[in-house]
Symmetry: C2
Subunit: 349 residues, 2 copies
């Protein structure tokens, strides 16, 4: 089937570009001796995770246990889950998953460490737990190198767990000083710091500037989107991901309505103006979304689409868009090669 025969809205991935993106970043990290541990939140598709592993990734990263369960069921054996796991229901699932999968975890508080320790000790396991550090994002994470060292010692002293290193997101200029200070304190206390995990796609090509960071977690680098293009991490010609829409209305000379809205593109702005780039109408502005309509201002375009025309959109943020689709269509040379169910879609728990 040709791409133009797919009913819209449809999320498509250019497979040549996808493969090139996987290889390019793997090679970069390899050249710099940084382990690649891609974040599957972007695609939620086991087949793509397998491509990343085949290219040289040391394992994968998942954000929720539900994602990790899907990936483990597909045969993936090394999963990092950098999320505070809390509550009996999740801890039970975690212990079950750890029986068959090489897991590593994170914590940023004694509360989380104690919960993990109880269930993993009972399961007669010893799982590495990294200390999450807030090196500037202002989300989770211990706030100081001293707090990181204190939590590292607590982990090391908790049966069922072993201290696995340090974790932050994203890697940034503030990451180096924080990590150096934390590593120094932890080593002084007699613990080795075997792994420092950083991440992020917008700053992916700066990973080598943080020598303390031994592995990198990136998600969006495989697809690309308007945000990562705007950040300079990926070019328009490298962007593998887009949504094909149809113009369903041209109510005025300037206005066009696409058959995708906030349930197709999400409302993520990520600091940008408007909701996507129309590469074939680069002056167009996708300025408003309702749930199933996208409203475009074509007034700056000399050439404008007619009702029924197909229009490609590169959304602001690919990770939240893939989560809105049941399947992603892989395209090569204009033809459908594969249709992947978004297997871990909606894995919120």
């Amino acid at each position: 089937m040709h791409i133009d025969e797919l009913d819209t809205p449809v999320a498509v991935v250019d497979l040549d570009r996808l493969e090139a993106n996987i290889t390019r970043f793997q090679n970069y990290l390899g050249e710099h001796g940084i382990a690649n541990r891609p974040h599957i939140k972007t695609h939620k598709i086991p087949a793509i995770a397998q491509m990343q592993l085949a290219a040289g990734a040391v394992g994968i990263t998942c954000q929720k246990i539900g994602e990790a369960e899907v990936m483990a069921a597909a045969g993936i054996t090394d999963i990092f889950l950098p999320y505070n796991i809390i509550g009996a229901a999740k801890l039970e699932r975690l212990a079950a998953l750890a029986q068959t999968t090489q897991l590593s975890l994170t914590a940023d508080s004694a509360y989380v460490v104690q919960g993990l320790g109880q269930v993993l000790q009972a399961a007669q396991l010893e799982i590495p737990v990294l200390v999450e550090c807030d090196t500037g994002l202002g989300r989770c994470g211990v706030q100081t190198p001293a707090a990181a060292a204190e939590l590292a010692l607590l982990i090391a002293g908790t049966p069922g767990l072993r201290f696995g290193g340090l974790m932050t997101y994203p890697s940034s200029p503030a990451t180096g000083p924080f990590m150096r200070a934390a590593i120094s304190r932890i080593q002084t206390a007699g613990l080795p710091v075997e792994r420092v995990s950083g991440g992020g796609t917008p700053g992916m090509w700066h990973a080598h500037m943080y020598p303390e960071v031994t592995e990198h977690r990136a998600g969006m680098y495989i697809y690309g989107d308007r945000y990562t293009m705007n950040a300079g991490a990926i070019s328009l010609e490298q962007c593998a991901f887009s949504v094909i829409t149809t113009v369903v209305s041209r109510p005025t000379a300037e206005r066009g309505i696409l058959d995708g809205g906030s349930k197709t593109f999400s409302s993520d702005l990520l600091g940008l103006e408007d909701y996507g780039l129309l590469p074939d109408y680069p002056e167009a502005r996708l300025y408003s979304l309702s749930e199933e309509h996208g409203t475009v201002d074509f007034s700056a375009c000399t050439r404008r689409p007619a009702i029924g025309d197909r229009v490609r959109v590169i959304p602001n943020h690919c990770c939240v868009v893939t989560n809105l689709f049941n399947e992603i269509v892989g395209i090569r040379d204009g033809a459908v090669e594969v249709i992947w169910p978004v297997a871990a879609r909606g894995a919120l728990r």
Copy 2:
């Protein structure tokens, strides 16, 4: 199971409030002789559509064919699809659906009318098509009463179709003058205007102020959310929908991290600041979302939650949140009474 035993994040609906919301608005429309044709985009759950019909709705509204197919498969027989249906794939599905379901449709251009006519004439059907009118939203719709009359005549003269009336969204003060002028022109041309369909939840209690409008399409009125509360359409005590989260991190005295982010709440702002209301911590600000984390500023709260505490969030926009969950949990008196799959979730086509 008690609500507090549900793993988080989980979307819950208070069934007493849901039923009261359905009854209250049905009674209001009934008192004013306005037909109720609720929009199922909000819930995407056949059982709730059946509750709306049992309360007196004349039929339902769907935005995409995929939604209508799910509802028809569940036994719902009268479906309005106010969306321009374009392209061979969708038109074939539409004709198949029309064999078993009493459909009504809309169009805002000759292009759409011709496409509908071809496939519905071939199927030996005659389906009512309403003219979509832009009475101020600036989305789809003919721009003038004269254009509405012209399209009405085209529909009436197209085999397979009959002119079914006028449609707009939302009903607003500009709706009356537009509709009066369009009705006058269409009646002068010899066509009856049997139905004028308006809609919207924020202005739901003003429906009786537009006497030209004979039926009302509302979606959010059954659940309520921060947006509809802010618009004054529904009170906090009437709001039936919320998301239960867990505090997974308290990295500072002021900051708390919830286990739901943009893949749980969506990034919809709808003109509001922040991403949701925490009714048990009303001074808290859910000011930032990443995909699986919600970052809350508790600095204005005298009482603040601890790690592991459960926090209820009323999101900005219930329609896009339900579309992110695989199921909705119905609660009565604190106990789980039903778990509904979001059957038409992700029905983008």
